[in-house]
């Protein structure tokens, strides 16, 4: 086949068939890619619920910090009431540790230091620990770690 014949072949009806075929193939490819993207997108999650019960208010003494590292939360009871702090460092997500003797919260990764009310004492974190929502439900305290609240919010019981 020489080049003239090729040119002739690429015209008219045959050209239409080729383009339709290639178009369909392209569409199928693009659709396939879209479906695959949807495929890898998880439809259900097996993750612990963001809100959980921590216990009855009576079980926490006044002026105490109760650390629940498994659920990454500090439950603090002051004279005024309760609030909950996320134990996740605002710097790079390490789990902080409450040191009773020093009355402060330390991050082991990069040395950030927080007060027990969550405020930042020392960098490299640029903001204090997140204060998260806490509410009373059927006589039990329920914490929602997804829901951040204002940094002076306190639940009075």
């Amino acid at each position: 086949m020489d080049s003239q014949r090729i040119e002739a072949a690429g015209s008219g009806r045959r050209r239409f068939l080729w383009f339709t075929g290639l178009g369909a193939l392209g569409t199928a490819g693009a659709g396939g890619a879209a479906v695959m993207l949807d495929f890898v997108h998880p439809k259900v999650l097996f993750e612990p619920p963001s809100s959980f019960r921590v216990g009855r208010p009576e079980s926490f003494p006044v002026n105490s910090v109760t650390a629940d590292y498994a659920r990454k939360v500090y439950l603090v009871r002051t004279e005024v009431g309760f609030f909950a702090l996320s134990a996740v460092c605002t710097h790079l997500g390490c789990i902080t540790r409450h040191v009773e003797e020093e009355g402060a919260i330390f991050c082991p990764c990069h040395g950030s230091k927080f007060a027990v009310d969550g405020s930042l004492l020392m960098g490299p974190a640029t903001r204090g620990l997140r204060r998260i929502a806490i509410r009373l439900e059927d006589g039990e305290l329920v914490v929602d770690s997804e829901l951040e609240v204002e940094k002076d919010a306190v639940l009075r019981v």
């Binding site: 086949m1 080049s3 695959m36 495929f39 890898v40 997108h41 439809k43 259900v44």
Partner: protein, 240 residues
Amino acid sequence: MNVLELKERVVATPVWRSIFRHRYLDSNRNRALTVFSNVFLHIHPVKVPEKSLRLRHTMCLGGLSFALFLALTVTGVLLMFYYRPAIPQAYRDMKELEFVVTSGALLRNLHRWAAHAMVLFVFLHMARVFYSGAYRPPREFNWVVGVLLLILSLLLSYTGYLLPWDQLAFWAITVGTNMAEAAPLIGPKFKFLLLGGNVIGENALVRFYVLHCVVLPLAAAVLLAVHFWRVRKDGGVRPL
């Protein structure tokens, strides 16, 4: 600036030309370039005998076997996103594919049926090669590679059989490994190593998983490369 001009400009850039080394399929030169400058197409010669285009010449069986291998690779990789080789998660994941994952059931079906089809097609390909005498010198060695590929196809299909961890899988593998155990001397040891223990349990599942997803496909890919290379070197599908 209209679209055509823009296109011309893009096509003329060094970047474009570094990727696509030729222009449209407007001449035999460019068509030839298409084949031999393309990593995927260059296993073909630039020209083939017109006779070999006929369907009954090859029945396309070898090509289709390879196409099935590709399809299995693609669907298999996708399925790996949702599969955990553990008990009983493996079985649960089958249910997730069926009930939750978008197109999950379709992908699993495709993978399963393509696997069966591949065993069948490779076998038919072998028969075709035999009856058309295409195993004769100088292609003896490629026939041997082909036989090895047939065995690999069987092993690939067989190792994949256990992965859903259902009754069908479990007992098919039980029967299969006990058949292998009958081999004198090496049989029991072979079974022990294959299962990673004396019973079909989590060890066996992980071993079959690794064989199915990594070891055997890699081996098959290498042998396929050799197979195709020999086809190119020893001549195409012409009967002697």
